[in-house]
Amino acid sequence: QSAGKDAVTLGMTLEPPGLDPTAGAASSIAEVTLYNIYETLTKINSDGSVSPLLAEGWEVSPDLKTYTFRLRRGVKFHNGEPFNAEAVKFSFDRAGGDKSTNKDKRTFANLTTQVVDEHTVVLLNKEIDPDLLFLLGQATAIIVEPKSAETNAAKPNGTGPYKLGAWSRGASVSLVAWAEWRDASKIRIRRATFRFIPDPAAQVAALLAGDVDAFARVTPRSMAQFKGNPRFQVLISGSRAKTILAINNARKPLDDVRVRRAIAAAIDRKAVIQGAADGLGVPIGSHYVPGALGYVDTTDLNPHDPEKARRLLAEAGVKTPLELTLTLPPAPYARQGGEVIAAQLAKVGITAKLQNVEWAQWLSGTYGNKNYDLTIISHVEPFDLGNFAKPDYYWGYKSEKFDKLYDEIKNAARPADRARLLGDAQRLLAEDSVHAFLYQPQWVTVANKNLRGLWKDMPIFINDLSALSWTTP
Amino acid sequence: MAADTQPPLLQVQNLSITLPTRRGPARALRALDFSLARGETLGLIGESGSGKSLTALALMGLLPEGAQLEGSIRLNGQELLGRPDADWCRLRGNRMAMIFQEPMTALNPVHTIGRQVAEPLRLHRGLSARQARAEAVALLERVGIARAAERLDAYPHQFSGGQRQRITIAMALACGPDLLIADEPTTALDVTLQKQVLELIGELVAERGMALLLISHDLAVIAGAVQRTLVMYGGTVVEQGPTRALFSALAHPYTQGLFAARPHLGAGRVPGLRLPTIAGTVPELADLPPGCPFAGRCPRTIAECNAALPAAVPVGEGHTARCIRLGDA
């Protein structure tokens, strides 16, 4: 039935607000466009490694500050304009420029792009960033065509294998294969439709009713009914995300490490994972995930121990019940996890008042104004230990020790050194109990069993359509 | 009742109605007997709630749901009780018609008067829309609606009360019924209008030879308009007879009391003068005594009055009264 099928319908939870990843940070923009419409110099693979895409190859200077890219030849944008070093320079200068609304503006502001010749560019980085190649494979680093850059949100123009077909706002975006792409013959899927279904129950219904062929990151709750169903394949993938119970370290009495440790000890990660993600998660003890360079298991550093938690609270001289607000953004993991955590905290004498907020409110109130005690949030950026070194970050964490450590990590050119230092950093954060680190979420993809080429792991959120195909049963 | 003569137009025998009420079934009408010949006019008077309207509705077969009927109603000798609704429908508006008390509400506010007057014509005579319209104009003109042709497409609210009552009369007369029932057709109207409408009905009845059953609670209206009169009280006809005879020799204590209680026009105020009154009030249906309904209020009540409904006693030529104490005053 699926033989010779060349169309696919993919489900997505949220609709992208526009199709320009340089003007918005919603991951849904990348999910639709990255590697499909737009391309980057490097490509991030399912296992987190980086391979050539628009760049055929590159050299990195030993001090990690100079990158030389050799660009792929004969590449054109959808509108016929050629892809060349000028386009790269334009894209990166624009991303770091004054008028930039790129969320990674700071990264690009540190870069100086030099055109060597038509097909060679050199990037000079002011700071050391070991993850730059990975970063250049992300959606914020797409190469745009100068004349069409400003209209990308509605009329995306890239070098990728797909062009925008139709966008019926609120419902779906469809992409159609671009016949003039350099490897057009390898494309199996001629037409891909992304359908936006925010409601978890509707997601399940859509899958069961066959309205969508695949749904990446469906709500874990609904997984059980697909597992035993022969019509579907269920992929469970790791991620680089860290779901944490963030603690406002700047607030009393949370500035006392004993109180934070008490909170961490009060929490049974297993139960939280069960409640928040239906068991789909790996416990973490620090702000780092298994599989990443230099990971160390710190989950036993401060294990679940309500007795100890109560003791720590008493030591800190906290009067129980201690009343704290627990701010929850709209994501299901937060709302569901919040209930579980509140129940666990209650057992050690902490009354967590649940406060459900919208995303916008979370951003302005919790993130912007740092007006919160506790909040549950998943940090999906792959390499973001640096946030602990930012003095004005919403966590309110200040540690000279960590700052120094982080500086060393950044400047460590050799992976082995970095791995060691990263281990130290993880332990430090765990000991300081900066947050109650909960788990590394796993994503569930449910798909028609005949669909091939879906990503097993998701270091970043994308749907690589060119890799998809239908099997002939 | 001579057997060889043609049956009267309408003959009602021993008609009783039982109504379901909150306090159980109530005998709203008891043992009603009367007959009406073609061209004859009959009046029905009595106080509010005495059963006048029920009688009229029973004759039209339009009693409220749940009402139980006993006895017999014959039109032209044919028994009507027990007939299916379709048979009644053929008679209503055709052989017998009715004018209601409230001209303000008896007309459908959202239909033109032309349509409403033409409706029975189309229904019973099968006239085309155009023919029925022409006929409606004639009817409306006959009842005194000026420039009827122009006003055919007007709605009821554009007419005054008197005019509306004329329209309902036109509607009732449309098919030239044999029997016209008018249930308090003038109560809602001014005296001046009342006079006009009564005169109009009188003229039409005479002109077309219809039989008329006129219902009113106003003695004077009945006295001036009909040949025979029935006086109702508490669901029974307590007295009946030719109008003149009845009014000149009031027999039943209720009729007498009713008559005496009326103030007289032009008498002027006489200090110290009181109107004779009937003590008490009309009994409620569900509490009607098994005997004479007037028993409690009647100055002549004796124990026997409560025993059974008194039989109709002749007091004159065709004049009877249901009272066991007619003789002793």
Partner: protein, 320 residues
């Protein structure tokens, strides 16, 4: 008639003006802004500030209000913060779903209601009446989103007759077409119509019963019309008067109901757009959508008033 219209239109305009002020002020208090939402927590603050400037979020409230109203009057609703496209287009697309959905639901509701209400009234107090009214009570009591879920379970998941949601669009080009689109709207419309229909059925029944008691119905019967003929010719039109009023009032609830139902069936309608835009702080869109909904409600009630005059000759020129 002209005066009546003029008066009503003036009231309408005043209502909408007041609505615009209230809507604008309420939305002003909303914490958070579109730029931050668009760029997310990891964005550089400079980028957020720049985006805010681009979106015009740095202007004073008064300036923005004025721009908005001036734009509205010239038919320009501005650009959506989130989508970057003209709000007018955005709303127009959504209206193509919400309006047909609401109308379809209304028509369904009216059909159910009239049939059930008239039937029940004509079998007053008998088994049919009691049965239909019991169903109506049930229809009112069931939350419409729950009913929607049950419909999906039965018709989409079990029987697979309808898709579980989504909207293919009215044109072939968007992958839909008239019939597929109508099919997609059917289940949502039914789940909306059941509650409204149940309410209307009850109103219809009691309206018909009220009219049945009117003197003119007795007059009609006295003319020789059968029960049924009297019902059709004399009762229905009079009974429609209160029914139409309630329908007008219900319309607001119906529109509100679409918000929920659009969520269940993930339909890209106006309700979802509002919901989503509030979350995104895309206030330009929210403002205009809310105004539009208010205008629709007001307009429908205006139409109801006109319908009134059409049904009831007594309310012509004078008007209220």
């Amino acid at each position: 008639m002209a005066l009546f219209l003029l008066k009503r239109l003036a009231a309408l305009a005043a209502t909408l003006l007041a609505a615009s002020i209230v809507v604008f002020l309420v939305l002003e208090i909303l914490p958070g802004n579109a730029a931050q939402v668009l760029l997310g927590p990891d964005a550089a603050p400079e980028a957020v500030a720049e985006l805010a400037r681009k979106l015009g979020l740095d202007q004073s409230a008064w300036q923005r209000y004025w721009h908005w109203i001036a734009g509205l009057l010239t038919g320009d609703m501005g650009l959506s913060h989130a989508y970057g496209t003209p709000v007018g287009e955005l709303i127009a697309e959504r209206l193509l779903l919400t309006v047909p959905l609401a109308l379809l639901a209304m028509v369904l509701a009216a059909c159910i209601a009239l049939a059930a209400g008239v039937y029940a009234a004509s079998r007053h107090n008998r088994l049919g009446d009691v049965g239909v009214m019991a169903l109506a009570q049930l229809g009112i009591a069931i939350p419409n989103f729950w009913f929607a879920i049950l419909l999906i379970l039965l018709f989409s998941v079990q029987l697979q007759w309808f898709s579980a949601g989504g909207f293919p669009g009215w044109t072939q080009a968007s992958g839909g077409g008239f019939w597929p689109a109508l099919q997609a709207l059917l289940l949502p419309a039914i789940s909306l119509a059941v509650v409204q229909g149940a309410i209307l059925a009850r109103i219809t029944r009691s309206a018909v019963l009220d009219v049945l008691r009117e003197d003119f119905v007795r007059t009609a019967r006295a003319k020789g019309l059968s029960r049924r003929a009297a019902l059709w010719r004399h009762v229905l039109r009079n009974a429609m008067i209160p029914v139409v009023t309630v329908m007008g009032l219900q319309f607001a609830n119906l529109l509100a109901g679409t918000i929920v139902v659009e969520n269940v069936f993930y339909l890209p309608g106006l309700g979802r757009l509002i919901f989503q835009s509030i979350a995104n702080r895309d206030l330009v869109v929210v403002r205009n959508c809310v105004m539009l909904l208010a205008a629709m409600v007001v307009l429908v009630n205006f139409v109801v008033d006109l319908l009134y005059a059409a049904i009831d000759p007594r309310v012509q020129v004078a008007g209220p």
